[in-house]
């Protein structure tokens, strides 16, 4: 079990972009489950009109993906923690395949992200899995690819150096 303090020691993400609350079922190098509680008190709920319907208040799909990817980030780095993107490594998105949204997510929902490390080759990691709300599958992830790259390469080098690493 990883608490929010332990997650913050692994990931550079902070409010309002730290989107997982706890980790359970961790099998290092293989899989984990991350828990996130969706709240109406997140910034994307600020300043909205008063007359919105339920579906119009659903949690943004992009953030469901981001939350799941942060769970993958924990799995990728739990054996080598470095939350300082200024000096260490940063996780960069390579690509996404076949993420399917099965139902809307609303404030009050507690999601469990199930993440599996499919394979790891030379700093490039491939994950798959799903997000569930109780017994209901909310989102399925066919494949998400990430690369761990030195932060210095991202900050000072030409942009195509990063692109080359991602490709």
């Amino acid at each position: 079990m990883l608490s929010t303090a332990e997650i913050r020691a692994l990931l550079p993400h902070r409010f309002p972009m730290l989107l997982i609350d706890a980790v359970t079922d961790l099998v290092p190098g293989r899989s984990l489950t991350a828990v996130t509680a969706i709240s109406a008190n997140e910034p994307w709920y600020a300043g909205l009109p008063d007359d919105l319907t339920g579906p119009q208040l659903a949690y943004p799909e992009a953030l469901l993906v981001e939350s799941w990817c942060q769970a993958a980030g924990v799995l990728a780095t739990v054996d080598a923690p470095n939350p300082d993107v200024l000096t260490g490594r940063v996780m960069l998105f390579g690509g996404i395949s076949d993420v399917v949204f099965h139902r809307a997510v609303l404030p009050g929902d507690v999601l469990h992200h199930r993440v599996r490390l499919q394979r790891s080759v030379g700093g490039t990691l491939v994950f798959d899995g799903r997000s569930v709300l109780g017994d209901a599958v909310v989102m399925t992830v066919g494949r998400i690819t990430m690369a761990l790259r030195p932060a210095g390469e991202l900050r000072s080098g030409p942009r195509h150096a990063v692109a080359g690493a991602i490709r």
Partner: protein, 126 residues
């Protein structure tokens, strides 16, 4: 109906709409609150926010009207990172295999193509 909640607060401008596609632009606002946490001391526009820019552009310019529901992110390739202040151009092309509607989006910044995205929609309920 699609959610109106979005992590992207930057303004989206519709530049052109044709029968087969559209072009929009997004100026990535340097003071977007999300940068405080992504990441402290090193702001970088989240990759999922590029997907969100494509999605919002699709909703704003979809042919035929009606409500679209995002069914799937079929594929994304991230080619370049993007940063506060970048001006993004979103080039959309539509195709359909009934009952799904597919949107292919190519997002570019001043430095070139930053992401290629394919989204699948279904017609939602009124």
């Amino acid at each position: 109906m699609p959610t109106v909640c979005s992590p992207v607060t930057s303004a989206l401008t519709v530049e052109e709409v044709t029968g087969a596609g559209a072009v929009t632009t997004v100026a990535v606002a340097p003071d977007d609150p999300l940068f405080a946490g992504h990441f402290p001391g090193f702001p970088i526009f989240p990759g999922v926010c590029l997907v969100e820019c494509a999605h919002r552009s699709a909703l704003a310019t979809a042919p035929g009207g009606g409500h679209l529901e995002l069914e799937a992110i079929e594929s994304v390739r991230f080619l370049e990172p993007t940063f506060p202040g970048d001006r993004l151009t979103v080039d959309l092309r539509w195709s359909s295999t009934y009952p799904a509607l597919t949107c292919r989006a190519e997002i570019s910044s001043a430095g070139g193509v930053v992401a290629k995205i394919r989204l699948r929609y279904s017609a939602g309920e009124e």
